[in-house]
Symmetry: C2
Subunit: 580 residues, 2 copies
């Protein structure tokens, strides 16, 4: 009955027998179905577009002169945690830049907090209000790789059985990116069973398959995986599209493959491309924007706007089955973004379900009270450490060290000559010690290793963001400073810490040790401040002092990495020792 009443109301408005809630006048409208720009009024009732035409009467009117209206932008794949912002702050920035919906994969939160981490994220977004509507829709994926590997200690574990139980829940929209592509291709039952569970639940599964092509790509696709954002070459993108994958063009803060798209996207295949952020830092959101920036850069890379815009609207809606989203047309949810033009994509007005939620780069809402349930607070549980725990005994005089590629995440294993017996003597070397300290269960697990060429001198730095299990990572050249840095991270409940001659500095990531409850501007400023302090202690150009550390504990990236369980040889896929 209620639906019948609603439809009748909408129809009455379309036929001008009743007054609309909102009429956007003098608008130019980008039509995703035709690739053309239309002129007309957009009429809205009860959050739904009831017509594109002329002569509507509205309770509210909005002058759209000088703008081109696009459908609300949809991010096909993002880890909100990478912004280090709470959902409230993330939404404030993203919505100001025209974002109406995100497919969120809470991989980091769930590795720390389990399913409650995802529930937190969903609920925090859903609680947001602006003029009676929730300003950002979040479609929450259930992470597929928790833990990411068996070679580290994560805060939670989601095996196939748990996945089967969780994936059917309404809270979960689909299965998050299946990073364990070798297991899929090998046909490992535990991994396949997760994909089978998603398929049986009628839910989509996202992919992550760098350089997976040929037979392996066919096999990976048979797992029911719909998308991929990891293409490294134009040829790889073309093959993935041809095999039926939706290719997510990634425009993240660190990684992007925009430059490939100019030569790959054609009129015939354009419908199979989506835009996504994957990882987007707070300062990047503040300074460059979100999908508006991605559109700007995609168009500059040579993709015509008429194919670029659907990649952030209609194509995303089609791929993920988001009903009545991704277009400005009768019956569609009235999510709309007014931009200045189709090359700069500067966002001037953002409507969500017909409510103005942002104007001229500012969101018209804020979360007065942040949602911070117990599950995501006080998550850093570390056994006390002493300076002696950081000793690395090497009696042979030769040791393995990680040399990190500048501007990259890959490490090389290098063999270095070292002095010392009970503990390595770092003086006069370009070595640092690295420690990964288990922080979920206060088990006392701790891995120790060496890093060459990082340049850091005179103390220690540490961070509680460490992909994908998010243990504590501490780097330094002084055992006492390293122990102190670990202690500071424990006291702040996670974050970044620096211990040096100038004193101590901390920056708290009090939400699961991953995100900060501070305002975005403060997050960006304080991250910059503590990073600059670390830079002054010698960290070389090409390394982000803290964020580079966050990837040294990720054993799936070659070649030598460190987890809380010890030094890991990514080539042999086995643990190894510092001493040679």
């Amino acid at each position: 009955m209620e639906k019948t009443r609603q439809l009748k109301t909408l129809i009455d408005c379309a036929m001008k027998r009743a007054k609309c809630d909102l009429v956007v006048r003098n608008a130019r409208i980008f039509n995703v179905f035709t690739g053309e720009i239309e002129q007309g009024e957009i009429a809205v009732k009860e959050g739904v577009i009831v017509g594109i035409g002329t002569g509507y009467a509205g309770e509210r009117e909005y002058d759209g002169a000088g703008m081109i209206f696009l459908p609300g932008l949809l991010d096909a794949h993002i880890h909100v945690e990478s912004s280090m912002l709470t959902p409230e702050e993330f939404a404030r920035l993203a919505v100001a830049h025209g974002t109406s919906g995100i497919i969120a994969d809470p991989h980091e939160l769930v590795n720390v907090c389990g399913v409650e981490g995802a529930e937190y994220l969903k609920k925090a977004f859903d609680r947001l209000q602006c003029g009676g509507v929730c300003p950002l829709d979040v479609f929450m994926q259930l992470p597929s790789c928790v833990p990411a590997t068996p070679f580290e200690t994560s805060g939670a574990s989601l095996d196939a059985r748990a996945t089967r139980e969780e994936i059917v829940r309404e809270e979960f929209f689909g299965l998050g990116e299946m990073m364990n592509y070798p297991a899929v291709i090998a046909g490992e039952e535990e991994t396949i069973a997760k994909l089978a569970a998603a398929e049986e639940a009628g839910k989509i599964a996202d992919g992550h398959a760098p350089a997976v092509t040929g037979d392996a790509l066919n096999a990976y696709l048979l797992g029911g995986i719909a998308t991929d954002h990891e293409s490294l070459t134009a040829e790889e993108m073309r093959e993935k599209v041809a095999r039926g994958m939706y290719v997510q063009i990634r425009c993240g803060s660190s990684a992007n493959n925009l430059a490939l798209c100019g030569e790959v996207v054609t009129a015939e295949n354009a419908r199979r491309f989506l835009l996504c952020s994957d990882d987007k830092h707070a300062h990047d959101l503040l300074q460059r924007g979100h999908l508006d920036d991605a559109l700007r850069r995609l168009v500059r890379s040579g993709v015509p706007a008429r194919f670029a815009i659907p990649a952030a609207t209609l194509n995303v809606a089609e791929c993920y089955g988001l009903k009545r989203r991704g277009a400005i047309a009768p019956g569609y949810i009235a999510d709309m973004v007014g931009v200045n033009d189709l090359s700069d994509f500067s966002v001037r007005a953002v409507f969500k379900r017909g409510v103005l939620v942002a104007e001229n780069g500012k969101a018209l809402f804020s979360a007065q009270e942040k949602y911070l349930p117990a599950a995501v607070r006080n998550t850093v549980r570390v056994k006390d450490v002493s300076p002696e725990d950081f000793r690395i005994p090497v009696r042979s005089g030769r040791a393995r060290a990680m040399q990190v590629a500048a501007y990259g995440l890959v490490t090389e294993e290098v063999i270095v000559s070292v002095r010392g017996g009970e503990d390595i003597d770092l003086s006069g070397t370009d070595l640092n010690k690295l420690a990964v300290i288990e922080r979920h269960f206060a088990s006392g697990n701790m891995g120790l290793g060496l890093v060459k060429g990082y340049g850091f001198r005179g103390g220690a730095i540490g961070i509680s963001v460490a992909h994908d299990s998010h243990n504590l990572v501490v780097l330094g050249d002084d055992n006492a400073a390293m122990a102190r840095a670990a202690q500071l991270l424990k006291e702040t409940g996670g974050g970044m810490a620096l211990v040096g001659a100038e004193g101590e500095e901390t920056y708290p990531l009090d939400v699961a040790g991953l995100m900060s409850s501070l305002p975005a501007e403060e997050v960006a400023a304080r991250t910059a401040h503590i990073s600059a302090a670390a830079r002054r202690m010698g960290v070389k150009e090409g390394y982000d002092p803290f964020m580079t550390l966050a990837f040294l504990a990720l054993p799936v990236i070659p070649h030598l990495k460190l987890t809380d369980k010890g030094l890991f040889d990514g080539d042999k896929f086995a643990f190894t020792k510092v001493e040679v």
Copy 2:
């Protein structure tokens, strides 16, 4: 567990760790995602495509040399009843022409038999077998307009309440074409409630909106209607696409709008077009084909093959949410059609779930035993009529007659001078009598009217197909012959009947009075034979002797029509009288 096992098996085949069921070698493949033609082997296991590549081993091998493989063709909208064939016979012809799936709207059957008519159609298709698979997928719509109008007696009625109950059933894929567009646009509650029920059930609703544009189109779309196949002009097609409708290009036996498409379909909007048949007669299926013929004609009309083929494959799958259909790619159901080229589209091999189901124009299956449940048999229930019942008393000397437009369905009201008192004297005129006799409940309802210019002389002809309520329609110039024709239709359980100086001829439509249980070739031959006999009795060029009659009882087509309740003025939307 079973799904996990299946996925693992498929992956093993993709990686060549296990043998496939079928390998199609030397194939060229049309890729719907890129619009390009690829070369490669297609490997199939358990009915699913596991890879496009080289070097596969298969239990069976098929040499695809000289063919281009397309995904199995999908008809976006068809009334199977219009073929006058049983599902078994329809499938035999359609599959031979490359059809893998149809969205069927059993509007005629349900108007006669109620929901059991739809159940019959679904079950009859689903029972078909060929090499262990069902050779044709049918996605069954629940008709939305039963009865089509309140001005006639149909065999069943599906009001909003019944629609709400039925639409949630698994048997029903969506809501059939909403022909009552004036009611939608007017916001009539009973009609809107049907659309609301479909939306709440999460099911698609098809449309039918000739010349509906502007505000009315916006309003119609708000009913949640996804498609339309009635566009009369290129401009109308363009507007419907721009407003978010999927435009079904109709290639039926009587109506088609192919000629418009050459100038309308562009690279930007091509994804929003679908191919459909709507109504397809047996002789047309036999002589010209099905969607293969539609593709051939669409390409000739100027639409490039790379945009035409998706309209009969991927686009249909996307519009209707048909999972893993519409493409030749890993994970997709192995429905494939080998054609000789992309201009002639001559079908040489048809695979359904990896099983060869037709070759060189012949289906490799037949239904030994037709499924004919009681619900669709003996449906013609008529109260006995006598010659006196066909008398039309006119004392004023002036009467209304229908003049049918040649090659069309529209009638004009003409006023004619007539002789006679108790009954019109037809001698020396170019008038025929027309009777519509209620045949569902033997109520004795009978409408009488006059037809001018049909040319028929010397007896009577009649048919039990009469849109949309399918009462008996009898035309003639002799009361006794007309009564006899009605009697013959009653005795055959529906069909076509002819009574003249040469004798009598009948052709039975023993399934619901709409379809014949005879083989397709015999249906075409006997229809042609009885039509030729009627033609010899004077029916003029421009009229199909029987099928034109089938539309004279359809009150929604202007201007003067006849139902079992009487003569109907389509302009005043009210009953009128023969006598002026």
